[in-house]
């Protein structure tokens, strides 16, 4: 690094910059140069060839201290690294344990619920009026897995879904217009119900009368479980009439408008066989049946 020429008189103009200059140019401790000056002033010969003779117990002490510091640091680092790794592994295994337990519990819930359904159906008898009503209610409340023909609607984000966009009527808080929003899914699901669907599921989440479809952050939650696009809506019902009614409904037109205006990809198709799982939550907190 070259220093600008010193002005002929007075201090340097850029004196305030001398800190950086000094930092970069005076890297050697000035003490060495001063000590050499002092030695020269005392008339000692600079010992170039025999530098080993300049070594003294002080150097021994200093080098020993430096080596000690480095060794301590090395030992400390080596001792701490496995500990951190161990803690991380413990955390991961705890999370995995809990997840395993969770899914085990869910399986158990499903099994118990299936047994309960079977017991209830058996107790009521399949041919009685109560039994038929119970079976129909089980289907429409989402308590049992169902299967049958129906309509499948696949909605997914527009192709260039990462462009940031400003505010919009659909989403006053701003956000990406080319993404599917919770409102869009709500409209689509409502349209399917209105078209005569008997059971609806979004990405394998069975919807009940109490299901919520809402946004949290950038993810759409259905019954508090985050979903990722593409969103597959499966509705069981008469495929032909449902498709026609859905396409002519306000909600169907809404989806077509999304397609033409924002490029949201949307596709419907009739299926001969759809299988929807039971709803994961059927808990009612406050309502009790009339005795």
């Amino acid at each position: 690094m070259s220093t600008p020429p010193r002005p002929p008189n007075g201090p340097r103009r850029d004196a305030s910059m001398s800190l950086l200059t000094g930092l970069l140019s005076q890297t050697l401790d000035p003490g060495y140069a001063e000590a050499a000056e002092r030695r020269k002033a005392r008339g000692e010969v600079p010992e170039h060839g025999h530098w080993t003779r300049r070594m003294s117990p002080t150097v021994l002490l200093g080098v020993a201290a430096i080596a000690l510091v480095l060794v301590i640091a090395a030992i400390q680092t080596r001792r701490e690294a496995p500990q951190v790794e161990r803690e991380r592994k413990q955390l991961i295994s705890r999370v995995q344990d809990v997840e395993r337990k969770n899914s085990g519990d869910e399986d158990q819930i499903a099994a118990v619920r299936a047994a309960l359904q079977a017991a209830q159906a058996a107790a009521l008898g399949p041919s009685t009026a109560e039994g038929k009503a119970f079976a129909a209610l089980s289907v429409s409340t989402g308590a049992v897995p169902v299967t049958g023909p129906g309509l499948e609607v696949v909605i997914s984000d527009a192709a260039g879904a990462d462009n940031p966009a400003g505010g919009d009527a659909r989403n006053p808080g701003g956000g990406d217009l080319s993404r599917v929003q919770d409102v869009d899914l709500q409209h689509a699901v409502n349209g399917l119900w209105a078209a005569g669907a008997e059971a609806v599921a979004v990405n394998g989440q069975r919807l009940t009368a109490l299901s919520a479809i809402r946004t949290a952050g950038s993810a759409i939650l259905v019954d508090f479980r985050p979903l990722s696009p593409p969103y597959t809506l499966q509705a069981i019902g008469d495929p032909k009439s449902m498709a026609a009614k859905f396409a002519n409904s306000t909600e169907g037109k809404y989806l077509f408008q999304l397609k033409s205006q924002y490029g949201i990809r949307f596709d419907t198709g009739t299926k001969d066989h759809l299988a929807l799982p039971a709803a994961s939550q059927l808990t009612v907190k406050d309502a009790v049946p009339v005795p």
């Binding site: 050697l28 530098w51 070594m55 080098v63 201290a65």
Partner: protein
């Protein structure tokens, strides 16, 4: 020769006594390491320049470690410990690099 003996003594002392750093001093260990490296490179460069001085070497090492730790301690008390640690590491790092470059020029003349 005597430096090599000192090195061996230091390493053996560290390995034999296994000194544990108290938790209060643990944050200053990295700073001490950087200051120690600075002293080593400065000393070697002074040696090659022919102006090595044992007293300056030891005093500069001890003073660097103490002052660096003090700055970081002060920063911790003021809530800017990490920033001051960065500052100390940057300054000492620049010195280490420059001294290493000077040593390289001395040895390889390149």
């Amino acid at each position: 020769m005597i430096a090599a003996i000192g090195l061996v003594i230091g390493v053996i002392a560290g390995l034999v006594f296994h000194p544990t750093v108290p938790d209060g001093l643990a944050p200053y260990l990295p700073i001490a390491v950087v200051a120690a490296l600075d002293a080593v490179f400065g000393g070697v460069r002074a040696l090659l320049d022919g102006i090595f001085d044992d007293k300056v070497f030891v005093v500069s090492f001890v003073a660097n470690v103490v002052v660096a730790a003090l700055i970081v301690f002060l920063g911790d008390q003021l809530g800017v410990g990490s920033q001051l640690t960065t500052g100390v590491v940057v300054v000492l790092g620049i010195r280490i690099f420059s001294n290493a470059a000077a040593i390289r020029r001395h040895i390889f003349h390149a």
